[in-house]
């Protein structure tokens, strides 16, 4: 379930951006999360890949606009 996935992704974000109280929602973009820029993004991608045991493709990496996009991407990989 989608909201379930959001819950599972949240700790990865909290860890990666050092924000223990971060509350995620689907429409959040890089603008809304402090420190989420392209450098931290690489670490986020790696953490998501490791946590959910998936690998992203190049074409997928350029199209992540908001948290919801990430969830959709993870879902498409069977997460």
């Amino acid at each position: 379930m989608r909201s379930d996935l959001l819950t599972r992704v949240t700790p990865v974000f909290r860890n990666n951006f050092n924000a223990p109280d971060l509350v995620l929602n689907e429409t959040m973009t890089a603008k809304d999360v402090e420190g989420w820029d392209s450098f931290a993004h690489i670490n986020l991608i790696m953490a998501l890949e490791d946590t959910f045991n998936v690998r992203f493709e190049t074409s997928e990496l350029g199209q992540i606009g908001c948290v919801g996009d990430l969830l959709t991407l993870l879902e498409s990989k069977g997460v």
Binding site: F39, H41, E49
Partner: protein, 313 residues
């Protein structure tokens, strides 16, 4: 549209327009651009306005728009992001041989076209590229008097050559050598038409040139070859004894066509010295802002540039 704006404001407007276009597809990357570029001084915006206008003029002549160039740029960014993930996992670049990269990139018009258009935009969108371009301008200006024969190796989009044409007033020949047909085609369009220019499709290791050069520019090529010492030594054969070379190359910079991994500025200096050059002037620019000890730990890219003179033995 911005005829009444002063150069700084209209430059700021042009840069903001590009960042907004980037944000439509890749807001994460746009955020970084905004943070870096908006912190630069007025001189940057004064430069950026006409520079973006130049790119736009070139694009229009080829039936393209700035949006097209931004798309190309974002393709390049997606490649770099992917390569970066792989690099942090393996500690190596994904390509190891020239043959592989020649097929995957230089000889692939589709890839090379978006790559060179993207790289052209990066000259104004990456603070470290902009600062290096400025270093090149000021260094070339100081050395321009007396340059008759000028060469650029791996000129790609042609932007450095275009600038050199304007700066080296006494220049008689300007030769660009590049192994990629797509690069040469683009450079021939981008560089103002001038009878003193010549564009040569060749691998620099196989290229021969009669006239010795006063100055050779080679931006971001050393990381593209298997043996950068041999590459610099090759340039020496084109160079007069009192000639000068300008090079740039990055450390820890995963990309689809990077082969040779420089791990530090010192590593680059060693290669320069081993090839028989002394460093006249150098500049290193980190591509991220963080405390010094974290830069190395995180394998952040350092863009290194230097003016070299051959060591006379």
């Amino acid at each position: 549209m911005s005829a009444t704006l002063d150069p700084i404001s209209s430059g700021r407007q042009a840069v903001t327009g590009l960042i907004e276009e980037v944000a439509k597809t890749n807001p994460v990357h746009a955020k970084k651009l905004e943070r870096f570029l908006m912190a630069l001084g007025d001189d940057y915006f004064e430069f950026a306005g006409p520079f973006i206008h130049r790119i736009e003029t070139y694009l229009t002549a080829r039936g393209h728009t700035l949006e097209f160039a931004v798309k190309c740029y974002l393709n390049m960014i997606a490649d770099v992001t992917m390569e970066h993930v792989r690099f942090l996992r393996s500690g190596r670049y994904t390509s190891t041989s020239f043959a592989e990269v020649n097929e995957r990139v230089y000889g692939n018009p589709k890839v090379m076209s978006y790559y060179m258009h993207g790289l052209l935009l990066s000259q104004v969108l990456w603070a470290h590229h902009y600062k290096m371009l400025r270093f090149f301008h000021s260094g070339l200006e100081k050395r321009a008097a007396g340059i008759k024969h000028y060469m650029e190796v791996g000129g790609g989009h042609g932007m450095f050559l275009a600038d050199a044409l304007g700066m080296v007033k006494g220049g008689e020949t300007f030769t660009m050598v590049d192994i990629s047909p797509a690069s040469l085609e683009m450079a021939q369009e981008f560089v103002p038409h001038d009878p003193r220019t010549a564009f040569k499709l060749a691998d620099v290791f196989a290229y021969e040139h009669g006239e010795k050069m006063d100055f050779i520019t080679m931006g971001e090529v050393m990381e593209h070859v298997e043996d950068p010492v041999a590459l610099l030594a090759r340039l020496r054969t084109f160079l007069k004894d009192d000639g000068r070379v300008f090079i740039t190359t990055p450390t820890n910079a995963p990309a689809i066509d990077h082969i040779f991994l420089f791990t530090s500025a010192e590593h680059i200096r060693q290669v320069i010295h081993a090839a028989g050059y002394d460093i006249e002037e150098e500049l290193g620019i980190w591509s991220e802002e963080m405390p010094p000890e974290q830069l190395e730990k995180n394998k952040v890219t350092l863009l290194y540039g230097a003016f070299l003179k051959p060591r006379l033995s």
